[in-house]
């Protein structure tokens, strides 16, 4: 094949692959970039579509932690000082620093009753590592953020 034809082919193949990749990336990002909701944002924007994975964050309401079953599942309520609250269910090991009154970010989905089923919980790890989103949210009150 002549050098020019070859260059043309290489360019055409690379370009079409790039376009294919860009299309994939576009759809993947549109469908899979997780939006972040605090209770306040939820009240403002309304529920995301059922079955779409999102992240919710806020503080674990003191006194809200309970076990509906044999202990494998936990339930708690996420608050952020706004009138809206988010009930969360999680089955699994909670992060070491997860407790009532502490900040938490949950990854999961809402069901049609408004219950958020988390597949992953992120708690404040230590002073240096805090879920990034929570730095922007305001603490509920002095005692709630310990």
């Amino acid at each position: 094949m002549r050098a020019r034809t070859r260059r043309l082919w290489t360019f055409a193949i690379s370009a079409s692959l790039l376009v294919a990749a860009a299309t994939l990336v576009f759809f993947a990002l549109r469908g899979n970039a997780n939006l972040f909701y605090t209770p306040e944002i939820l009240a403002e924007k309304g529920m995301p579509e059922i079955g779409r994975e999102v992240r919710v964050g806020g503080w674990v309401e003191p006194g809200s932690l309970n076990y509906p079953g044999d202990g494998a599942e936990i339930r708690f309520i996420v608050i952020d000082g706004s009138p809206q609250t988010i009930p969360v269910s999680y089955t699994g090991i909670a992060p070491d620093l997860f407790r009532e009154g502490q900040g938490v970010v949950a990854v999961g989905k809402f069901d049609d009753t408004g219950l958020f089923t988390a597949r992953q919980l992120l708690a404040k790890h230590d002073e240096n590592y805090q879920p990034r989103e929570l730095k922007q949210a305001k603490p509920v009150s002095a005692d709630a953020s310990e």
């Binding site: 050098a3 939006l35 972040f36 936990i74 090991i93 909670a94 230590d126 990034r132 922007q136």
Partner: protein
């Protein structure tokens, strides 16, 4: 002691500057000697830091912040590089180490070229050393010295993590020398076979430790984090994957340059990009712009300096490239259906894959700049990265037999039909008999296809079975690497799609059945280690005759005020039964302990496959085997 180290580091900085000047003046021998001296100087400086850690000298700020007298000695030593400043010192040491190794090992017979490569390496070292000395000095004293240190993050007190950073840095920084070679080659507009032969060895010298470093990190994440998985698409994992992909592309492209003189500009570009991606990884991890478990030094100013370094070296390289690339020789002509064409396809795919990872990693940053908080996780990468790679893997066994220049396509159909048949058989077997998903069956077939193809290629090249062991080591290296890729894919696909997980809450003497295993909680006891105490659960597990005890722990490190999870793993022939202990929950007045139980099928193949790839790279790096009787 560390004052001496501080002085020696300044000396290394001065020497690197001299290495740069004399190197660019073309004084090969002098630059080489300076490179060796600079390396020795920095090695001694690093040693003073290690000694300070070994002696728990808390008057050194770095030791006080990252060590503790009760820590086991191995972790005291590993603490030297388990923090920002120390790891940058390691970065400098490795940069100078590659300069020294280059001074000794380069064999191109081109004095000016080698001198310039050493000069460029010196210039890279100057940047790293200046950053170390003026922006993140490990040589700072505390007055008064504290009586006790703040300890190393307990998650990092682990054997795999002791070797993970040095391996990773050998890889990242190894690409600095590939960068230097590319810059020197571009300066004289000579990216030819001799250049490629040299650059390929250094590309392998970086690729092997980078592969091992990533595997160690992944293995650590598997058993230490207690999340069951081995890859989480964490920004820091991505930061190491991008240079790996570019480095892999380089290793394939440089073959064309070495054997046929082709792809010269493209190979040089990849050589430069591999190192730029490495610096970008350092920037992403150290600046705190991305949220990650690795972000141990969240300091925007340091991040800015790294970004400036990235832009500075990137500009040098790209300007050189823009000026010289048009003057590079083109090599022999080739048709699209040829080994050149196949390797070109490999390169396009690997680079596009690296770009999708880059986009997924940076997208949250861009979104944040636009005022939205967004995270990009596994589903994105499964949708973009995976199909792109599948494309090239599926054709690999067919195209690797193609000849240089123009391939004989008469057997093409046979191969394609063979592959298709294999996929169909596996899909039918997998879905029908073993009840796995179609995607998993396809993945399995792909892995088998790769292994089969690699072995077939070995046989084809050897012509007869007796001659297999007389083949060049680099052929063996290629075969092992491709077999390793196949093994990895089988492990990854089976583990990811067939993993079983469940959460159970057991009271004392309670039993539950998970994945066919009956799990009984015998006892939970408090125990104590050298610098931690722990709750240790004793579980007896049983499944059709097999019986064992597992003891997962939840440790607490008082010095760092941090808990860690110590998982317990029972290896069966087909996978790992993996248990992590969670918290105690009091349900209706009864104490229960939460366990996360996973069955991770064929997980060992994931790590073994990656190990084979590294081993293949290592074999390719070994010097050519001399032919018996040839005498050369």
């Amino acid at each position: 002691m560390i004052e001496i180290g501080h002085l020696l580091t300044f000396l290394a900085l001065g020497l690197s500057l001299a290495q740069g000047v004399f190197g660019f003046m073309g004084r090969r021998a002098l630059a080489g000697r300076i490179a060796l001296t600079a390396f020795v100087s920095m090695a001694l400086a690093f040693l003073t830091l290690v000694v300070a850690f070994a002696q728990s000298d808390f008057s050194v700020a770095l030791v006080a912040n990252n060590s503790h007298t009760l820590k086991p000695m191995a972790y005291k030593l590993a603490g030297t590089w388990g923090n920002h400043e120390g790891s940058m010192a390691l970065w400098c040491l490795v940069t100078l180490g590659f300069g020294a190794a280059g001074a000794v090992l380069m064999r191109t017979g081109r004095e000016i070229f080698e001198a310039r490569a050493l000069g460029m390496q010196g210039l890279l070292a100057v940047g790293a050393l200046a950053y170390l000395l003026f922006a993140s000095s490990p040589f700072t004293r505390l007055d008064p010295a504290p009586f006790q240190g703040a300890s190393l993050n307990p998650l990092l007190q682990d054997p795999a993590l002791t070797f993970h950073p040095p391996m990773l840095y050998l890889g990242y920084v190894g690409y600095s020398f590939v960068f230097a070679l590319a810059a020197a080659g571009l300066m004289e507009a000579r990216i030819d076979r001799v250049w490629a032969k040299e650059a390929r060895r250094w590309g392998l010298a970086a690729f092997v430790p980078l592969t091992l470093g990533i595997a160690l990190g992944s293995y650590w994440a598997y058993y230490e984090l207690g999340w069951g998985g081995w890859w989480f698409w964490d920004p820091v994992e991505n930061a190491s994957l991008m240079p790996w992909l570019i480095g892999a592309a380089f290793l394939h492209s440089v073959i064309v340059t070495e054997k046929r003189g082709g792809f010269a500009a493209w190979t040089a570009l990849l050589a430069v990009l591999a190192f730029l991606f490495s610096i970008m990884g350092a920037f992403l991890v150290r600046s705190g712009v991305l949220t990650s478990v690795h972000a141990f030094a969240v300091d925007p100013e340091r991040g800015l300096l790294l970004l400036l370094g990235l832009i500075f070296y990137g500009l040098i390289a790209l300007v050189l490239f823009a000026v010289r690339a048009p003057r590079l020789e083109g090599g022999k002509g080739w048709s699209g259906f040829s080994r050149e064409g196949a390797l070109m396809a490999n390169n396009i795919v690997l680079v596009v894959a690296a770009l999708t990872v880059l986009l997924g990693t940076l997208f949250p940053l861009m979104a944040e700049a636009a005022g939205q908080t967004i995270s990009v996780g596994e589903p994105y990468f499964n949708l973009t990265f995976v199909p792109i790679l599948v494309l090239i893997l599926a054709i690999l066994p067919v195209v690797q037999a193609w000849a240089w220049g123009k391939a004989d396509l008469s057997h093409w159909m046979k191969w394609a039909l063979g592959g298709l048949g294999l996929v169909l058989v596996f899909a039918a077997l997998g879905v029908g008999v073993f009840e796995i998903s179609l995607g998993a069956a396809f993945g399995l077939a792909l892995g088998m296809w790769l292994i089969f193809g690699a072995l077939w290629e070995l046989k084809r090249r050897a012509v007869s079975l007796r001659r297999v062991f007389r083949l060049q080591l680099r052929i063996w290296g290629m075969t092992l690497a491709h077999v390793g890729l196949g093994v990895f894919i089988i492990g990854a696909v089976v583990e990811t799609t067939q993993r079983y997980e469940s959460t159970i809450a057991l009271p004392r003497d309670g039993t539950e059945t998970v994945a066919g295993w009956s799990i009984t909680l015998e006892d939970v006891r408090a125990i104590e280690g050298p610098n931690w105490y722990a709750d240790r659960a004793e579980l007896s597990i049983a499944k059709s005759g097999a019986r064992a005890t597992l003891a997962p722990m939840k440790r607490y490190y008082p010095a760092a005020q941090m808990p860690t999870t110590e998982t317990a793993i029972y290896k069966t022939g087909t996978g790992d039964l993996y248990v992590a202990l969670g918290e105690r929950r009091d349900v209706d007045g009864e104490a229960r302990w939460v366990f996360r139980v996973y069955f991770n099928p064929l997980i060992d193949l994931v790590f073994f496959g990656v190990f084979l790839m590294a081993l293949g790279g290592f074999l390719s790096l070994l010097p050519r085997r001399r032919k018996v009787g040839a005498g050369s």
